[in-house]
């Protein structure tokens, strides 16, 4: 077992792609760094915190990116976002088999404010363009910093989200919520609550994560291969039917959550008999339990890219 969480972005790429197959676009030696960070006395990085390129995955040409959570929290600035958008557009140009995004990000890089916000928006548009071109997009969320903000939204623009229990996927971080509305609203130091609210197991049970794996690079790689093999058989672009099914799921989720303020209550309503025991379950036991109860799209929505 080799932890995915503990790896840097640069180490995750060779762990996910076929050995020696990855070619990086605009590598660090090009020294294309942020033009804005110096203004705030903040150090730059030669790759602006993201590796983008193209490699083989199971022998097929797959374009990919890995965000470095240790640099500026993996947050998206002008250059970082442009590298992602450029890679996504190139994936369309070269008719990639799939796109694989290893996401670890706080969202918009506040140090680049307006430029970061527009950049994230361009990344979302480009992801949807890739899907419209018939190319599946798979997002992996398994890093220590999670995937938040605008990137938390972008992750759900992918066809499939793969997470580990350790991964977190959300919009606003618990500290931001606590600062805005108090510790009673969200105690950011209550780690168990944070993971019940935003972690992989919860997202998997609620239907926002389609594949959950152990924190192991081999498991993540296998899941990515499976996800892509599955997706290429159907429609990966947005469809009215797919979005109606997703809207239905989200409306039902809202209804079923009436009066519930604790994630364990939501799991109980899904039919889980021992919600308190969920965080302790090992991966296999959890997946077996989840198979019986997890929410998702109704069966009528088969054959669409929306999961």
């Amino acid at each position: 077992m080799s932890s995915y969480l503990e790896l840097t972005a640069r180490q995750r790429i060779p762990a996910m792609f076929d050995a020696g197959s990855f070619e990086e676009f605009l590598p660090p030696s090009a020294r294309v760094a942020s033009p804005h960070l110096a203004e705030l006395d903040s150090p730059v990085s030669f790759d602006d915190g993201v590796v983008v390129g193209r490699g083989l995955l199971g022998g097929h040409t797959v374009f990919g990116a890995a965000q470095e959570g240790a640099f500026m929290g993996g947050a998206v600035g002008e250059v970082h976002g442009a590298k992602l958008a450029g890679m996504l557009r190139r994936a369309i140009d070269e008719r990639a088999h799939a796109v694989l995004l290893l996401l670890e990000s706080g969202g918009v890089r506040l140090h680049e404010a307006n430029a970061g916000l527009i950049a994230v928006s361009e990344v979302m548009r480009a992801m949807l363009d890739v899907r419209a071109a018939g190319i599946p997009v798979v997002a992996v969320v398994g890093g220590a910093n999670g995937c938040f903000g605008g990137m938390g939204i972008a992750a759900r623009c992918a066809n499939t989200v793969i997470m580990s229990e350790e991964g977190r996927l959300a919009m606003s971080g618990p500290e931001v919520i606590e600062t805005a509305n108090g510790v009673e609203e969200f105690d950011s130091r209550d780690r168990a609550l944070v993971w019940r609210t935003t972690g992989g197991k919860h997202r998997y049970l609620m239907g926002d994560c389609q594949l959950l794996v152990a924190d192991d690079t081999a498991a993540f790689r296998a899941a990515a291969l499976d996800a892509i093999a599955d997706l290429v058989q159907g429609e990966v672009g947005l469809t009215l039917e797919g979005l109606l099914a997703e809207q239905d799921m989200l409306a039902r989720r809202l209804q079923d959550a009436d009066g519930a303020s604790e994630p364990m209550e939501l799991w109980r309503r899904l039919g889980v008999s021992d919600p308190a025991g969920v965080p302790m379950l090992e991966a296999d036991a959890f997946l077996a339990l989840a198979a019986r109860h997890r929410a998702g799209l109704q069966p009528a929505a088969s054959g669409t890219g929306e999961r």
Binding site: T8, P14, P28, S29, P43, V44, D47, V51, F71
Partner: protein, 111 residues
């Protein structure tokens, strides 16, 4: 932010291979980009650091580094976010080893 430059002439050990990057620019950490570049046998090192006023310390670290490796025709570029001298030395050594070691991949990286 501060930028420091060092140059050591007449190195004896040349490098070969693609540019390598080690480390990440996280708090207390740094990234080191190392490239084989024709420099008349010299080793040039440029440091961009968030920690200002430690020129003498950096100088000492670089002197030790050059004494250890005596690189020729090497360009080293550093983005530093407050790493200690011990961590800097470690990363520099990792950077050199990434180029000297025969199986260095083109996008490797050590935390």
């Amino acid at each position: 932010m501060e930028t420091l430059q060092f140059r050591f002439g007449q190195g004896s050990r040349p490098l070969a291979g693609n540019a390598q990057l080690v480390g990440v620019v996280g708090s207390g950490n740094l990234e080191v980009l190392i490239e084989a570049v024709p420099l008349d046998g010299a080793c040039e090192i440029e440091v961009h650091t968030a920690a200002v006023g430690f020129g003498a310390t950096w100088g000492a670290v670089m002197e030790d580094f050059h004494a250890r490796w005596s690189l020729a025709d090497a360009r080293i570029s550093i983005n530093d976010n407050g790493a200690t001298p011990a961590v800097v030395s470690l990363r520099l050594d990792q950077a050199v080893e990434s180029l000297i070691s025969p199986a260095a991949p083109s996008t490797g990286g050590t935390p």
